[in-house]
Point group: C3
């Protein structure tokens, strides 16, 4: 695709500074960009790259110092970058015309405007709305509901009776609704407790590859509107994740945790069961959270501490061998003083 920079500026509703006639053929990152490329700058850390990039034009935020480059000034360059990526590289989710077989049980309701690839299984009583895309190897259990325009990539499994909202994206290998890890007398005879609840995923949620979200028991595990979950995350039974929260890769959230809105959890962090996390809490990567956290707090470490305290503690930890030497020398000096 080729587009004039002026057209792109109009498309974005941005202010053009420079040559409206320059042709843009590709969208690339600022360091790899070459002639014919549009790039963007969002983080002030990379401002210097504006001088050195070979890109033909740059998306920039308002208030930049003047440079001798073609610029489009937009409120949020990263969001604008997303829009031009969509424009230049539209995705094609259409299945092949009629080749191959799908396995749709009698009594499943599948919109004629859903796109079902071969090799998909849809159980009895399932309800697939219009615009839904089911890639090969997707298995939809009985009485599952999938809302409009959701995309399920290959080999996703949704267990019976779970509810998926609109515009939800489940990446390859995601498992929704597996049994929670519930056993009576653990370590003795591990009596299995039937897991009879569901998972409810609200609109505009995205879930990364091979992430697992267990069904509630009883009741539901609930991923609220706009939540984004990365790859290989574990969400246990009866967890609630509040609107617009962001959960980075390999996080583990144990049973019955309740997370507020706009919570952000860094990679590989773990939350013990039955914890309540307030709105806008930020939890650092690899943290171990063992207790409730009130709204707006920032925590780090395992066991977790307020982030600033954790920074001070870790600075001390790295200095411990020196502190030990100091304490040893103090012991001798005090003993010496005591002799006198």
């Amino acid at each position: 695709m080729k587009k004039k920079l002026g057209e792109i500026a109009s498309f974005l509703g941005g202010e053009l500074v420079g040559d409206a006639q320059v042709m843009i053929e590709n969208i690339r990152g600022i360091d790899e960009a070459a002639e014919g490329d549009l790039t963007f700058i969002s983080n002030p850390k990379y401002l210097k790259s504006i001088e050195t990039t070979n890109a033909s034009a740059i998306l920039v935020p308002p208030g930049r110092t003047r440079v001798d480059k073609n610029l489009i000034i937009v409120d949020d360059p990263y969001v604008a970058f997303g829009k031009v990526l969509d424009l230049f590289y539209p995705e094609d989710h259409n299945p092949p015309e009629t080749r191959g077989d799908t396995f749709i049980e009698d009594g499943a309701i599948v919109s004629k405007d859903a796109k079902i690839f071969p090799g998909v299984y849809i159980g009895q009583g399932a309800h697939i709305e219009r615009g839904v895309i089911l890639y090969p190897g997707v298995a939809i259990g009985r009485h599952v509901f999938i809302g409009e325009d959701s995309i399920l990539y290959p080999n996703v499994t949704v267990y019976r009776r779970c509810i998926i909202g609109k515009r939800v994206i489940l990446h390859a290998g995601v498992v929704v609704g597996g049994d929670g890890f519930g056993f009576a007398r653990p370590g003795q005879d591990n009596v299995k407790i039937p897991q009879v609840g569901i998972v409810q995923i609200d609109d505009d949620v995205e879930v990364g590859a091979n992430t697992t979200i267990d069904r509630g028991n009883p009741g539901k595990t609930w991923i609220q509107r706009g939540v984004k979950i990365d790859n290989l995350v574990q969400v246990a039974h009866n967890v609630v994740i509040g609107e617009n929260s962001v959960i980075v890769s390999q996080v583990g959230i144990a049973g019955s945790c309740k997370l507020g809105k706009s919570v952000i959890i860094g990679g590989q962090a773990g939350l013990a069961g039955h914890i309540t996390i307030g709105d806008h809490v930020m939890i650092g990567a690899q943290s171990g959270v063992h207790d409730d956290i009130p709204a707006h707090q920032v925590v780090s470490g395992s066991p977790h501490l307020p982030h600033r305290q954790w920074l001070r503690v870790e600075a001390c930890v790295a200095q411990l061998p020196e502190m030990r030497k100091t304490v040893s020398s103090l012991l001798k000096r005090v003993a010496e003083l005591e002799k006198k």
Copy 2:
């Protein structure tokens, strides 16, 4: 489903205190329960909820103080809760009658009383016993054995020659028998060592979604009877997990570890290779275990420490900045004293 409370009490062999005629329509957790619901209380922490719940009846352990509610007294309310869940919400694992195709190689032996969903692949020489349920997308390698009444959920993979016992449950996306991570001259030219052993999973094991269990080489990786493994766990080549052990989500167990019976490992813990763990050991969440642990010990932390020592250590860690200040002030005071 509707049942009278008296019927349920008989079914459970429990003692009814209250109105045998009250109708139960649903089973729910104590906080969400409403009229028509049966709930349970197991953890003494939640005893107060007995007063406030709207449930029509409650499963309680013996020796409870009297309350003005309908109660069924049972030895283990959580186990009883499991039984009534099974009663009220029986699961239907029947595949559709004849619709759709399976891919069964010649020379596979599949019991006519096994339930094979469409989209299942079964390799030559595999042996599928009666009562087995294979959901769509399950791939059974050559010469694999699956014992009676085991359930493999969608998109499970079992590699060649692995052995699965009776009443085993493998949740969606589980991989049994992938190659162990064995390379000669690591970091140089990484020569692959063929991985020729197997995985053996004994009766009554349950494995959570997207967990991976590598084949032994040579010999076997062995998950013994009654073991329960949560989601996204890594079990490396030649590991042995003893009977009734419980492994929580995202744990990693490196090659050739030998775990005794009734070991419990908390979420995200890691075990280095070639470690022996005694019976009834408990390992805390996020621990890093680098050495053998004798039977009945409780450990936490990374690197792990006896649990009580770890609690004392972590209390000190959080206080390190204060300790550093104290040591600095001591240095000054001692220098002052030395001057005199």
Copy 3:
């Protein structure tokens, strides 16, 4: 299979010490080995087992003390062990003759010498070279390239336009090319940035079960020649992993990290985004790496420290309660001295 020890020695180009006529029927580990078995010893730790093993013969490195056993002396016994495993237990990757259906879109180019199992989906414009083996449930997106002799085990997903080299092994459930975790205004409205780059996997790479490798955006995520990645690893968008690096299970590598050659990362370690790791760096298990590491360094801990410093620090950490007591007693003793 049965082979004379003399034949095996010739096959390996090793020096036979002992009876060339002894028959070898199986290859086993040194502790389980019995009569008729060939075993090996590589780690000097296990030298004593030479005396006690029941194996009929042993692969040993040069310079061993004499024992009354049949030996084959080879430069690298572990590599030789791999070769005899291949000889005794060759793997059969042939699909069944014609049974079952595959889902190959028009416009896909599939070599007639590729082996495609039933239940495989191959998208339009994909290119599958000769010798490639695709197991059931593999989903190959549009315009994907898979080089000669690569093996994709069941339920692997490769998203659109990714490039896989020659002799690559992707174990069951691997996901290549899922969307990177890219959202503008995280925690506010989480605007999705389209992920339009690719994953490029070079020759001789092996990737463990259920590992996820996200596509770049823009540009590529790049796994270079000879890299070995274990199970359940997360590789984020635009990461580069240099030749022959070894990444152990459950490691997480955040976006845009650049790893040099022959880097070794222990299990469950995590790397923050945009970090550069030099050649031959070793990162300990469960480390948390938050900053660049120059070539040839060894680091451990979270936050990471040089390995030797970390060892000293951890020794102090375990002694903290004692140190705290010492400091308290010093406080009293100094106060006492000050009184005088």
